[in-house]
Symmetry: none
Subunit: 233 residues, 2 copies
DNA sequence: GTCATCATGTAAGCCGTTACATGATTGC
DNA sequence: GCAATCATGTAACGGCTTACATGATGAC
C-alpha cells in the first residue's frame, strides 16, 4: 500500500521523505495520513529492492533528468552496498544531501516496472483501488479497463448483498441501521454508474497514456464540468 | 472495532461465536469480514472484562436451541430462518445441536454501559462511524446528535481539503486522478447532505430538551486529538 | 466410516501507528 | 543562543488476517 503510493508519487518527480509525505497526503486523499514510521522503512525497502534510489538533490529547482541504470548496480554484493551506505552515513559531510541534510529519492526503471505491476495486480482491495486509479495513467488501456471492471464487479456484488439485506422480510433493522444501509446502497450505485462512464470513455477514447518518460505536462484543465466528454487527453 | 460490533450484536440477543460471525458480516456491511482469529480473542477479552458472559443455551430439547427463549425476544430472525430452512429440507430431522460444544454469550449490564460509551466515544474514526451509527439506538438523542455532528464536521473538513486540491492552480492531476477526486468530493457532499437530514430529523423528532445550537459543526478547529480517557480501545 | 459443516481456538506474521530519539537549519 | 520547524530514523506496540490444530455433529 504505502510502497505503491511512494512509487506513484516518485514517478512524478524526485522528492525527499518529508516532502513525499505531504504529497502522499494529497494522493491518499484527506483522512489518510502516512506516518514517518511507515514511510521511511518503506523507502528503505524500496531502495534495497532497487525500485528507488537516492539521487543528488538538484542544485536549483530544475527538473533533474530521469537517468536510468543505477550507478551502483544491483548485481553488486549486498554487503558492499550496506558498507558503502554506512560509510557514507557515518561521515558528517553528506555529498548526497542537500542544504537541509535531505535524502532525495528518485524512481528507477525497475521501480517503474514495479509500479505498473502493482497497479495491474488483480487482487481486489477496497483500499488500494483509489491508489491504483490515481496512478493508472502509467499503464496501458487494457490494464486500466481491467482495473475499472474488477472494481465494478466488486461493487455490483456488494450492491446485491446490500439489497438483499434491505429487502429481507421482517428485517430487524431499526431506523438508523436502515438509513445507513440505504445511504450505502445509494453510494454504491452511484459509484457503479461512475465506473460505467469511465469504462465507456476508456473504450471509446483514443487516449493511450502509455508509460513513456513524458515530462510532467501541466494539464490545461479548464474542465467544462463534463465528465462524460473527457476529451481523452 | 470488533468489540463494539460484538457488543452491538449481542445487545440484540444471545449468540455463540459462529453465529455471531455471520451477523457481524451483515452489520459490518458487505466487504468487511471478521475472522475467527480476531473474533474469539475479542470475546475472551470482553468476557474477562465482564462486558459479556457465557450463558446457558436454552435446554429445551424439543426446540432447536436457536429459537427464542423468554429472555431473548429478538433472537429469532436470522437463526430462525436457518432453522426453517433446515426444517423445510429435512423434514423429520431435528437440527438440535448439542449445546455442549457451543459457547453462547450474552451481554451484561456492564456490557450495555460499555456499548453506550463506545458509541458515544468522541474520537473520530472513519471506520467506526458506521458501526456506531448502527447501534446508536441504544444511546440517547444527545449522544446521537453528537455522533452525527462530529461526523458531519469531519466530512466538511475533508470536503474543503478536496476542493482545495481540485482548485489548485498548478495541479498535476491527470484525467484519472481528477475523476477520482471529483467523485470523492461528490460523495462527501452527498454524505453531508444525508447527515443534515438525519440531524434535522433527530432534532425535530420530539423537540423536548435539546434545543441548543451545536457549536461543533461551525468551528473548524478540531480538538479531538487527546480525548482518550482511561479505557484505551 | 467418511466427508462436509459447525464450532472453537492458537500462532505467526503483516502492516501500520504512536512515541521516542536525534540532528540540521532558519528566524528572532 | 534558543525555539520552531525541517528532516530522518528506530522501537514498541496494536489489531487483524492467514494458516494451523482440534474436535463434535449430521448426512449419505
Amino acid at each position: 500500500m504505502v510502497e505503491l503510493a511512494v512509487l506513484g508519487v516518485l514517478r512524478e518527480g524526485e522528492l525527499h521523505g518529508y516532502e513525499l509525505r505531504k504529497r502522499l497526503q494529497e494522493v491518499l486523499g484527506p483522512g489518510a495520513k502516512v506516518s514517518f514510521g511507515s514511510l521511511y522503512p518503506a523507502l528503505g525497502r524500496l531502495a534495497t529492492e532497487g525500485a528507488v534510489r537516492e539521487v543528488e538533490p538538484p542544485p536549483d529547482s530544475g527538473v533533474p533528468p530521469e537517468t536510468e541504470g543505477p550507478s551502483t548496480p544491483m548485481t553488486g554484493s549486498f554487503t558492499g552496498e550496506v558498507a558503502a551506505f554506512r560509510a557514507a552515513h557515518a561521515s558528517k559531510r553528506r555529498p548526497r544531501r542537500g542544504s537541509r541534510n535531505k535524502k532525495v529519492f528518485g524512481i528507477t526503471a525497475a521501480g517503474e516496472t514495479r509500479l505498473a505491476e502493482m497497479v495491474a495486480e488483480p487482487r481486489v482491495d477496497d483500499r488500494s483501488f483509489s491508489l491504483k486509479m490515481a496512478f493508472c495513467r502509467w499503464c496501458d488501456r487494457e490494464t486500466r479497463l481491467g482495473l475499472f471492471e474488477r472494481r465494478r464487479s466488486t461493487l455490483l456484488e456488494r450492491l446485491s448483498e446490500s439489497r438483499g439485506a434491505m429487502g429481507r422480510p421482517r428485517s430487524r433493522l431499526d431506523h438508523y441501521a436502515r438509513a445507513l444501509l440505504e445511504h450505502d446502497t445509494e453510494s454504491t450505485e452511484r459509484s457503479i454508474a461512475w465506473l460505467d462512464r469511465l469504462i465507456t470513455a476508456e473504450r471509446s477514447g483514443t487516449a493511450d497514456v502509455v508509460a513513456a518518460p513524458a515530462p510532467i505536462a501541466t494539464i490545461p484543465t479548464m474542465t467544462t464540468t463534463n465528465e462524460s466528454k473527457g476529451q481523452a487527453e
